[in-house]
């Protein structure tokens, strides 16, 4: 596949790090996407720019007063149609750190419960001043509909089973910080669990194959439906990946294991016999992790079911990056809000 293209010549100016204390529209930044709806449209140069901008945001977060005026006067509206704590708060903190005005809308308390359509809601929040819209929605593709009617920038905060771009980029950032030279080339990365229903898995397939990682998807066969075909065709640059129901095969010599949340609804729909059986066969325990490389890293996008898909001691162990994922989430979201803001006049 060609959408993530590592061979594109990058202009020198694009390799610079944006001066994130200043508004993004005050300087040339090599970012051309008005919206961020999926990672599959990002070039490798785009991804590198996000990583460098995230570095700059990390520096801001290290200051005594972790705040820059870059988005002062901009309205960032956070519209969440699904329950979420970590991602919503992460976006809110990120926007506030950039001095944006933040409006939070939880769909459960809005007109949505009175039957208002997404299109009408988006038009309404725009009329109320929204310039950037962060949207989470249970239906795959919903952010594309929002982007179609919104005149500012739309940032996908997770849509259905489809995409979770900020999670994939924060995962990539977190891993790059841990590997020699920031390269994931050839690293065996296992995404373990309910891949079928996971937007985190789908977005990570694009970014991790783009980074040259050896990506493995592992879980019960019912939760891998359709992925063998995708693995055979390949993702970024046509890079193939692996799909297996054998956790032993997946974990052997793995550099990274990313466990995914398993939901109780999967039993009702007949995809799994029981949570107990899932935990016994696919739970990431210390014993299982021993099959991976000794220094293997453990990730989880949260929220976790400790004792089901991941053992508590693994989640909080020395190899766990889970808290770092959360910290980096704020920096990556600051970077993306900043870059997107540069493409639309306030």
């Amino acid at each position: 596949m060609t959408l993530i293209d590592r061979d594109v010549q990058v202009a020198d100016s694009a390799l610079e790090v944006p001066i994130v204390d200043s508004p993004p529209d005050a300087q040339p930044v090599g970012w051309r996407h008005r919206h961020l709806l999926d990672v599959d449209v990002l070039s490798w140069a785009d991804i590198e720019l996000v990583m460098r901008t995230t570095d700059a945001m990390r520096e801001v977060l290290g200051r005594p007063i972790a705040k820059v005026p870059a988005l002062r006067g901009r309205n960032v509206t956070i519209l969440f149609y699904e329950a979420s704590t970590r991602t919503r708060v992460s976006f809110e903190v990120a926007a506030k750190n950039l001095s944006a005005d933040v409006v939070n809308i939880a769909a459960a308390t809005s007109s949505v419960t009175k039957g208002e359509s997404l299109v009408d809601t988006v038009r309404t929040v725009e009329a109320l001043g929204a310039q950037m819209l962060v949207i989470r929605h249970a239906v795959s593709g919903a952010p594309y509909l929002a982007a179609d009617v919104f005149s500012g920038s739309v940032l996908n905060g997770g849509d259905g089973w489809h995409a979770h771009p900020t999670q994939a980029l924060l995962d990539l950032y977190t891993l790059r910080a841990r590997f020699e030279g920031g390269s994931l080339e050839g690293r065996k990365i296992v995404i373990l669990g309910d891949v079928l229903h996971s937007r985190v898995a789908r977005s990570n397939i694009w970014t991790l194959t783009a980074a040259g990682a050896d990506v493995w998807l592992c879980g019960p066969a019912t939760l891998l439906r359709g992925f063998e075909t995708w693995a055979g065709r390949g993702a970024a640059d046509g890079r193939r990946f692996h799909v297996t129901s054998s956790i032993d095969e997946a974990l052997r010599d793995a550099d990274v294991v990313m466990a995914l949340r398993i939901q109780k609804e999967r039993m009702a729909s007949g995809l799994l016999p029981s949570l107990r059986e899932y935990a016994a066969r696919y739970g990431l325990t210390r014993q299982r992790l021993a099959a991976a490389r000794p220094d293997a890293l453990v990730m989880h996008p949260g929220p976790m079911n400790e004792g089901v898909e991941i053992a508590a001691d693994v989640a909080s162990g020395a190899q766990s990056l889970i808290e770092e994922q959360v910290r980096n989430g704020v920096a990556v979201r600051m970077a993306l809000l900043y870059l997107l803001a540069g493409t639309v006049r306030p």
Binding site: L118, H137, S140, G141, Y144, D148, G160, R199, R225, G226
Partner: protein, 472 residues
């Protein structure tokens, strides 16, 4: 070449002469250069030109063919007139070149009672359109899938067969009973083949595109198991009721068509149709590709052609059955060529913007397709995949034969001197751009918005009367 009739819709065409055209008569299998004269609504003269007179006339210009027959339309009246009425549906049909349509009974209330049919007929009559509206009655009362509708009363009232379209008849026992009961009445059962247990919440064809887009998969097996079930039941029912007939509508998978192919070879009384959109569009369109099925690779992201030219998740593409794989679309073409499929239908399914301009997974299923079907079919003809005469036979004689005695006009559609003029005149050399706002249908839900289609319809005459005339 042509003279504008300047008559209002519905009036008898006093005088129309089409000269130097390409005539296609599926009833006789003949096509070639010629001319026609319509006088006082009657096809007075059909003249086939000799080679020396036909200089410069070929099948790439003005074509005259019998009016098209659509086995599968939803006109939404009664109950959802915001989406379509009988009048707007008939106007849309005429714009698409259709002169006979068979409306599906999934209205509110369902067409499970002769009174509903009487209302539809009254609306058709009041519309002034000469397009003939035939109707399928419901198989089960209220389309609820529990008890048989009043099949005999509906037959007496003039329905052309029975269908619970929109959903399959879940109960195999009811399918068996309906095939037998309707068979004794000489009418077919029209099945929407879908095993609902496999499609709960399904959004897009179960395959590569759905996997990447995170859409709930709609497996081909859901259609194929329903087809296999119905064929097995039919094979037993015909032993007792030789007149039992099954028509499978909007088949969309290679496997389902293959089951029909084998059943026909075994002599079972089964027919089927495929839609224009399943012939020409694939699930790639949901990913944002906009190439015809025969140009597609199935991998819009990675085939290196830059196939993705539109935003993904356009809800106008949400349809039941879903747009399928490239191989399935090829199987639809193959079935139309080898006689496995008897007809091209439109499954014209207009919806309001309230029901359609929403998230992909929440959008109503259906494509407003009766005005674009000819253009889609001609794209396949232009690509050399379907001979013109075969394509037009699948829009005329094919569906008329599915209707059997219910066709009600003696011979199948043709260009027959002395009969009321029932024909379409279109120009393959003229293109038109699909603009939803300009469609006669109230359903603006077309995935072809902005696309140029060949074969602009110039005239549609139904039963000797003017049904449609191009504006200029």
């Amino acid at each position: 070449m042509t003279v504008a009739t300047s008559s209002p819709i519905g009036t008898v065409v006093a005088d129309l002469e089409i000269s130097r055209a390409w005539l296609v008569d599926p009833s006789s299998g003949r096509e070639g250069p010629g001319e026609i004269i319509v006088t006082e609504g009657v096809l007075e003269a059909v003249t086939w030109l000799d080679a020396d007179e036909a200089d410069g006339i070929d099948d790439g210009g003005v074509v005259v063919a019998p009016g098209f027959v659509d086995l599968h339309v939803h006109f939404r009246e009664p109950g959802n007139e915001d989406a379509e009425t009988i009048a707007t549906g008939l106007a849309a049909a005429a714009h698409g070149g259709f002169t006979t349509v068979c409306v599906m009974p999934n209205t509110t209330p369902a067409l499970d009672d002769p009174a509903v049919l009487a209302g539809i007929r009254a609306a058709a009559s009041a519309s002034g359109s000469p397009v003939r509206a035939l109707a399928w009655g419901a198989i089960t009362a209220g389309r609820a899938g529990e008890t048989l509708a009043a099949l005999g009363e509906l037959a007496d009232a003039g329905v052309v067969g029975f269908s619970d379209d929109g959903a399959a008849v879940a109960s195999a026992v009811l399918v068996r009973n309906a095939l037998a009961y309707a068979g004794a009445l000489g009418l077919p059962i029209v099945e929407h083949a879908e095993d609902a247990t496999q499609t709960a919440g399904a959004e897009a064809n179960d395959g590569f595109v759905a996997t990447v887009l995170g859409l709930r998969g709609w497996p081909a097996a859901a259609e194929e198991t329903a087809v296999a079930r119905d064929l097995a039941i039919l094979a037993e029912v015909v032993r007792d009721v030789p007149r039992a007939r099954l028509h499978l509508t909007h088949l969309s998978t290679a496997g389902a068509l293959d089951l029909v192919r084998r059943a026909k070879a075994a002599g079972l009384p089964v027919t089927c149709d495929v839609t224009a959109h399943h012939l020409a569009l694939t699930d790639e369109w949901v990913a944002g590709a906009r190439r015809w099925a025969w140009e597609a690779t199935g991998d819009p992201w990675g085939d290196g052609t830059g196939a993705i030219v539109a935003a993904p998740y356009a809800s106008s593409l949400r349809v039941n059955p879903p747009l399928r794989s490239v191989a399935d679309a090829a199987a639809c073409r193959e079935a139309l060529l080898d006689g496995t499929a008897d007809a091209i239908a439109t499954d014209h399914a207009p919806h309001t913007s309230v029901d359609k301009e929403v998230e992909f997974g929440l959008a109503a299923n259906g494509i407003s397709g009766i005005e674009t079907a000819l253009g889609i079919v001609l794209a396949a003809v232009d690509a050399g995949l379907l001979p013109l005469a075969r394509a037009l036979a699948l829009l005329t004689g094919g569906p008329a034969r599915v209707l059997g005695a219910a066709w009600g006009r003696g011979p199948t559609p043709g260009l027959v001197e002395g009969a009321p003029a029932d024909l379409v005149v279109f120009d393959r050399s003229e293109t038109w751009t699909v603009e939803p706002g300009a469609l006669a249908s109230r359903g603006k839900n077309t995935p072809l918005s902005g696309r140029e289609l060949a074969g602009r319809v110039l005239f549609t005459l139904a039963g000797g009367r003017l049904a449609y005339e191009a504006a200029d």
